[in-house]
Amino acid sequence: MTVTEFIVSRLNYWIYIILMMIGLFAMISKKNLIKKLIGMSIFQTAIILFYVSLGVKEGSNIPILEHSVSHAAEHGEIIRAEDYANPLPHVLMLTAIVVGVATLGVGLAIVQKIHKEFGTIEEPEILAKIESGDG
């Protein structure tokens, strides 16, 4: 297997890892608290993307049966799982999106309170204020 094949055959994994690392970098190294939260959002979205890409199958349809199971049995149609995309990871991600939104909401509320208390959202300035006994 060549290097190109190695990358192309796992493209969804590469994309999610790159996005995740961008998010992680922002969370760790950015000094602005809002930028940290943006990083956090990218980080969580990368994981959602990873899960969503798990359910995809080549040549598959949306996971809704056109007719009922009994109807299919009468007409001799066979319902095969591989014809349909896997809905479970998508459903899980609905919950994860809710959790992500809630986390972002709490994070933004906390940043708002930090701004009210310290008058700034730049981490070095806040730390300087705490050092000088203003905290």
């Binding site: 980080f43 994981i47 899980l92 709490v106 994070g107 906390i110 310290f118 905290g135």
Partner: protein, 504 residues
């Protein structure tokens, strides 16, 4: 009715949280009775459930009646039945303590405080009960989101500490979620028991995907439980939080996460994979040794009482992780017994610290002069907890250290034995330093009487603070005296994990 016990335990605080948030805004006085009733009900049902489990073995509760692996199930064995009682008892005692503490610290936000408090307890109980890997992620986030908000309610420093906790906590939970995703790729299941059976049955032990899943899940949980060097968020968050918040967070969050790690290791990946196939046990135990030593030394460097206690938690997490990863039954029993006893020790210390700060307004150790004379009963509670942290019999701290050390000797891991003894010595220095300062009154009696007049509050804290403190101190002695009963329960659970005497 008895079939519904697991659901009642979880739903009582959840519905109470909804009731408090609806009614609390208009009638503030109904908050507290609802909170106490809900937690009392949960505690009573947890005790009944432990009776059921001890008599009849594992209890499985299928939500909505869907069988495994389609539905979510609650699975209760002696380990989590024991932990349910710990969680409900600690939260009930803290709720009683908060009657005065919360009304003083966050007077204008009482309904919000109690709503978040109950949701936090719901999250922790859910983490303990659930047998589904994804459900666990959601409940971990329920517990974390509420604790971010609870911490941020207080002072300026607490808000910043809470923000750092948001960032670190989200990282931890996301790594866990990613790990579950990798497990799902390989096994197609989210039920913990089912994943375990598939891993064993289909010979997936050699798979790189499973290895990555294990690493991601472990890193995620280690961030959440503040395992050194991933502990950065914990000290500030717990030290600056309001005292009724830190009293429920500090004893419970780290211990419940340790339990989650145990569940992941024993039920999902299985002891054969973790201990026999991977042979990571020595590496993780050495990491635990570093955590114990580092936590103890950092605690020694603190002058702020609550901050010192938070670094002791970091060291205690090292005890438990090391004990679980020691790969023999004695050390595992010691580690889980330590989960139970450390929850009460930490609670006792934080209740005492909260009461001292509430009465005197002083945060640092050198300011604690003459406390034994001013508030003798509070200091009795503090002393018992301190002695238990050091490991003096008959307190529970002695027995957990005994099992941990004998387990480490069986495994031949002398580094861990030395670290445990070293940390006990440091604890002895820490607590006897406080006892010494607090036992002897200030040299100049005139200065002291003048100070008492200015601070206004002196003497014992109110009964709602002193009561929980003394009950917790009594629990420390009771858990120590009845250690055989608890150990028998833990062993009963260990037997269901299969061969735990894996090595040696």
């Amino acid at each position: 009715m008895a079939d519904q016990y697991p659901a009642i335990i979880l739903l009582a605080p959840l519905f109470a949280a909804i009731a408090v948030s609806l009614l609390g805004g208009r009638w503030g006085s109904v908050c507290l009775p609802i909170v106490l009733a809900a937690l009392g009900l949960s505690l009573a049902v947890s005790v009944a459930l432990l009776g059921q489990v001890a008599a009849g073995g594992e209890v499985v509760y299928k939500l909505g009646g869907w069988p495994r692996p389609f539905g979510i199930e609650f699975r209760i064995d002696p380990l989590n039945a024991l932990l349910l009682i710990v969680v409900t008892t600690v939260s009930l005692l803290t709720a009683i303590y908060s009657i005065r503490a919360a009304t003083t610290e966050t007077p204008d936000k009482l309904p919000q405080f109690y709503t978040l408090f109950l949701l936090l307890v719901t999250g922790l109980l859910g983490m303990t009960l659930t047998g589904d890997a994804f459900n666990l992620y959601v409940l971990v986030e329920v517990a974390s989101l509420t604790s971010y908000a609870l911490i941020a309610m207080h002072s300026k420093r607490a808000v910043l500490a809470s923000f750092n906790y948001v960032i670190m906590g989200t990282m931890g939970a996301s790594f866990y979620l990613l790990g579950v995703g990798y497990l799902y790729i390989k096994t197609g299941s989210l039920n913990m028991v089912d994943i375990g059976e598939i891993l064993r049955g289909s010979g997936l032990y050699g798979s790189k995907t499973i290895l990555v899943a294990l690493m991601l899940i472990l890193v995620g949980l280690w961030i959440k439980m503040a395992f050194f060097p991933l502990h950065g968020w914990l000290p500030n968050a717990y030290a600056y939080a309001p005292s009724s918040t830190s009293c429920v967070l500090a004893p419970l969050v780290t211990k419940v996460t340790v339990y989650v790690m145990v569940r992941m290791m024993m039920t999902v990946f299985g002891p054969e994979y973790i201990f026999s196939f991977l042979e990571w046990s020595p590496i993780v135990v050495w990491m635990a040794v570093i955590a114990i030593v580092a936590g103890s030394i950092m605690a020694l460097a603190q002058i702020n009482l609550k901050k010192m206690l938070t670094y002791l938690i970091v060291a205690e997490v090292g005890y438990m992780v090391g004990g679980v990863w020691m790969a023999n039954e004695t050390a595992f029993v010691g580690a889980f017994y330590h989960v139970v006893s450390d929850a009460f020790m930490t609670l006792c210390l934080f209740l005492a610290a909260g009461a001292i700060i509430f009465q005197t307004g002083k945060h640092t150790i050198p300011e604690m002069e003459g406390l034994f004379r001013k508030m003798p009963w509070t200091m009795v509670g503090f002393t018992i907890a301190g002695l238990s942290m050091i490991g003096v019999p008959p307190t529970c701290g002695f027995f957990s250290k005994w099992y941990l050390i004998s387990g480490a000797m069986e495994a031949g891991h002398w580094g861990y034995v030395v670290a445990l003894l070293f940390s006990s010595l440091i604890n002895a220095i820490l607590f006897f330093r406080i006892f010494e300062v607090a036992y002897f009154p200030k040299f100049d009696p005139q200065e002291e009487s003048a100070e008492e007049e200015t601070t206004g509050r002196a003497g014992e804290p109110p009964a709602t603070m002193l009561g929980p403190l003394l009950i917790t101190a009594a629990c420390l002695l009771l858990i120590g005296i009845f250690n055989q009963e608890i150990v028998t329960l833990i062993r009963q659970a260990v037997n269901t994990f299969g061969p735990i005497g894996f090595i040696g």
